[in-house]
């Protein structure tokens, strides 16, 4: 296990760096290094076992840190002050992409739970690549750029709330009760934090450990209540985002996450990629990827249109909201771990999501540039 982790970290760093050099997200490089170290390439050649309960545990920690960081970065105050346009665009994007996922499941003849699970994967946008492209084209400082950044933040929040409803286990009534308990504890904590913020509390290093511990305890609470771990980690981040020590907590979480745990999560995702899944992936992928992309383009363009954006600008918003990355991979691995998909399907959905991540981030810059070039004429 030790050697595997060492090699995985090195490979992830190298490929991540290489991908950043060619202006693609480092995450893709890290997933690819997982595929390389996994059971079908290096694993096969050198009899190396990357997938083990230990590496899965490390990946789990990575997920908690990633979502905790998201919550901290997004911040409650920022959500409260977001404009109507961002909200409309985010909601339309979420609804359309969720249902396009659901429809994929329906066409393929999967049952309700599976179809909803596919819908969940389609919801969360990751606009890093879009922002990079807009920066290159010198249009980040435009109404389009602003709307994309705002609604991308909101759609993570909405996506995770949907997830807590749809991934919950048990009958609707007990689930409803559990959700109430979770959100009540969220509100109580928020109130307490507000009170603490009034009293002078100064967090030395000791406090940073407490913050991370809090993320894990909240994740455990969410899991114990039958919601997903990631819901807990994300809301823990939101709760703590109101403290003045927010920047320090973000810095600390980024440090331990980025150096060690989060790359190991993406490596783990790559290592679980099963080449056998590719054999009869055809029809699924033909539906899966186009529907995921179309859902966001149509939904967000429509949202932008309602917010009085011109045709081309609205289209640019839709395309800009298309890429999926970290959160989609977190959601799919959570669902696979929950055994929502029966066996061959689990690997296919995993592979489909990895391909979706790659295709969407290759396609977004190209399409965005096309839209803007046409507009220039």
């Amino acid at each position: 296990m030790l050697l595997e982790i060492g090699i995985a970290l090195l490979l992830a760093k190298l490929l991540g760096y290489a991908f950043e050099k060619i202006k693609q997200p480092a995450v893709i490089g890290e997933v690819l290094s997982g595929i390389i170290i996994g059971p079908f390439v290096i694993g096969k050649m050198f009899d190396m076992q990357y997938l083990s309960p230990e590496t899965e545990g490390l990946a789990q920690v990575g997920i908690v840190l990633l979502l905790f960081m998201s919550g901290l970065e997004i911040g409650l105050e920022e959500i409260k002050t977001m404009g109507k346009n961002g909200l409309v665009t985010a909601i339309f994007g979420v609804i359309f992409s969720f249902f396009s996922g659901y429809i994929v499941g329906h066409i393929m003849g999967y049952d309700l739970v599976v179809s909803i699970a596919i819908g969940n994967i389609f919801v969360a946008t990751s606009v890093g690549i879009t922002v990079r492209t807009l920066m290159e084209m010198q249009v980040l400082n435009s109404k389009v750029g602003e709307l994309i950044v705002t609604s991308a933040v909101l759609d993570d929040v909405i996506g995770i709330i949907i997830l807590s409803f749809t991934l919950g286990q048990g009958n609707p009534y007990t689930l409803g009760a559990k959700m109430c308990i979770f959100f009540a504890s969220f509100m109580i904590l928020l109130f307490l934090i507000h009170k603490i913020g009034k009293v002078k509390l100064h967090i030395p290093r000791f406090g940073l450990t407490v913050a991370i511990a809090f993320a894990f305890i909240f994740s455990a609470l969410a899991k114990g209540l039958g919601l997903a771990t990631i819901v807990g980690a994300f809301f823990a981040g939101l709760v703590l985002s109101n403290l003045p020590q927010r920047r320090r907590m973000i810095g600390f979480t980024r440090q331990i996450g980025n150096i060690f745990f989060i790359p190991l999560f993406f490596v783990w995702v790559g290592a679980s990629f099963d080449f056998h899944a590719l054999e009869d992936l055809g029809i699924l992928v033909l539906l899966f990827i186009p529907m995921a992309l179309a859902g966001k383009i149509i939904g967000c363009s429509l949202g932008a249109k309602i917010s009085k954006f011109k045709g081309r600008d609205a289209l640019a918003v839709g395309i800009g909201m298309m890429p999926r990355m970290e959160i989609a991979l977190v959601i799919v691995s959570t669902e696979v771990a929950r055994e929502i998909f029966a066996e061959p399907l689990a690997h296919q959905i995993m592979a489909g999501t990895i391909l979706l991540v790659i295709v969407s981030s290759l396609l977004t810059p190209v399409l965005l540039k096309m839209v803007y070039r046409k507009e220039g004429k």
Binding site: S126, G145, I203
Partner: protein, 152 residues
């Protein structure tokens, strides 16, 4: 000066009129160029909610300016709104765009010992002194050194 004596001193004893008149203050809506011009000679500038107002809403330090001037580098994971803030890309216009919003503050009744602890624990080099939600002064390492040397 005896350090123990220094630690027990109250903040209100350190504040003087000249310092208060000299506070680097700008309002939230101030143009970014105004911020830069204050920072050519100061380490930081306190941001208030309105022109000539005293209600503190943020601070801009040298390091914030450094970040807004440097070529933008997006983080590997979890892009957030603040990463898109860059002078180069026109997303920085006013002081409010780059200021830190949640501030750690102290009050005139705190002792120097307490606020030195706060500064170390929070990695800060300056604290605003707040009374009735208004900024009434600041404590920086410069001020404390002046007192240590008996220049104040």
């Amino acid at each position: 000066m005896n350090l123990k004596e220094l630690h027990e001193k109250k903040i209100k004893d350190l504040l003087d009129k000249i310092q208060i008149l000299n506070l680097p203050l700008l309002e939230r809506e101030a143009n970014i160029e105004e911020v830069f011009s204050v920072l050519t000679s100061r380490d930081h500038v306190w941001i208030t909610d309105e022109k000539n107002g005293k209600k503190l809403v943020g601070i801009i330090t040298e390091s914030d300016v450094l970040h807004s001037l440097a070529p933008q580098r997006l983080p590997k994971y979890v892009f957030s709104k603040r990463h898109g803030i860059s002078l180069q890309h026109g997303t920085v216009k006013t002081a409010g765009d780059i200021m830190h919003k949640r501030l750690i503050t102290c009050s005139p009744t705190d002792s120097v010992g307490e606020i030195l602890r706060i500064m170390i624990n929070s990695g800060l080099r300056r604290l605003p002194v707040i009374e009735n939600e208004e900024i009434v002064g600041e404590v920086t390492i410069h001020h404390i050194l002046q007192i240590v040397l008996g220049k104040r």
